[in-house]
Symmetry: C2
């Protein structure tokens, strides 16, 4: 296990870093191999050094390895389809935005900065040969209750992290999604002005 390879490199119009072009979000996770602790530490370190407004670093993480009560608890909060494949991942990480401080002062940039931090985490993980899939389909309220989060800490995504598993072992409908062409809007649709 963990030896499955598939080329999912994006058909880019301009050359970008291999790690950015080859990064994708699989649903086939190796359900046996434990996480490589060094690679997990590297991914979290990359998240740590992400930029944030005024260097506030408005992010926290719940890290849970497969086999722990915490991994099982996070798995139980996953919605529908995610609950079918994501629990196989060696690690589930809840990305938590610190949307307000202890005095209730809101940070309007927290979600944006959290997204940046998780992007850095996922780029590092892919560079180290792991795969990452972020999910919004879970119950933030259930996570907040299970981990006794204060009001200002908002669970925002659950990240499946681990080694790629056997795509051919997925149910057929899932497998089809997994190998479908990678697509994005043309850049021209995204540019409001290009002056």
């Amino acid at each position: 296990m963990g030896a499955t390879t598939i080329d999912r490199t994006a058909p880019t119009d301009h050359p970008i870093l291999d790690v950015l072009a080859a990064r994708w979000s699989p649903r086939a996770y190796d359900a046996v191999t434990p996480i490589d602790e060094d690679k997990l530490a590297n991914a979290l370190e990359a998240a740590r050094w992400s930029p944030s407004a005024n260097n506030v670093q408005p992010w926290k993480f719940i890290v849970a390895r497969r086999g722990t009560a915490e991994h099982a608890a996070i798995s139980e909060t996953l919605a529908g389809f995610n609950a079918a494949w994501a629990p196989s991942a060696a690690v589930l990480i809840v990305a938590v935005a610190i949307v307000a401080d202890a005095d209730g002062n809101e940070n309007p940039v927290a979600l944006y900065d959290l997204g940046q931090s998780v992007a850095h985490l996922s780029v590092q993980a892919h560079a180290d040969g792991l795969v990452v899939h972020q999910m919004t389909g879970f119950s933030p309220a259930a996570v907040a209750e299970r981990f006794s989060l204060p009001d200002g800490e908002r669970p925002f995504t659950v990240i499946a992290l681990g080694e790629l598993g056997d795509i051919d072992a997925l149910p057929e409908a899932t497998r089809e999604r997994e190998v479908a062409p990678r697509v994005r809007k043309p850049l021209s649709e995204t540019l409001i002005a290009n002056a």
Copy 2:
């Protein structure tokens, strides 16, 4: 110009990609050299291939090269300190979140996904030898009016992109910030659980 170099590599506790460790957010921009168009295209292409919930890609960009009316207009929306240094950058990019579609249906993940997209942009730019500094200190309302943005499109950050300039030419207070040690919270403060 454009030849200034300074080692701002983060003092990481675990090894991460050079591009992630060396990325930083300077305020000294080369005010003369035009943008390398290939590198700008690569950065925007990296943003394009960022992941997003359901592949909605809820981001748009206003790209303005120094010397254009658009660059001047964006510069005028910058707040206080940012207005002093950022207009030197060869390119100013407004990162716009598509927070609602034409029917008014809100996308609660738009800011998070926009953050990811800009993270990919900045990683690519740094890999190509450019520097990036994101700012929230500007007037979104002024940008929205100037570029006639619809209600669902929310300007969220302005990105200064270009070549590094002469740090020693900055005003002293700015220069001190520029060379101050790079710091982050220890990872232990960021982990709610590590199971």
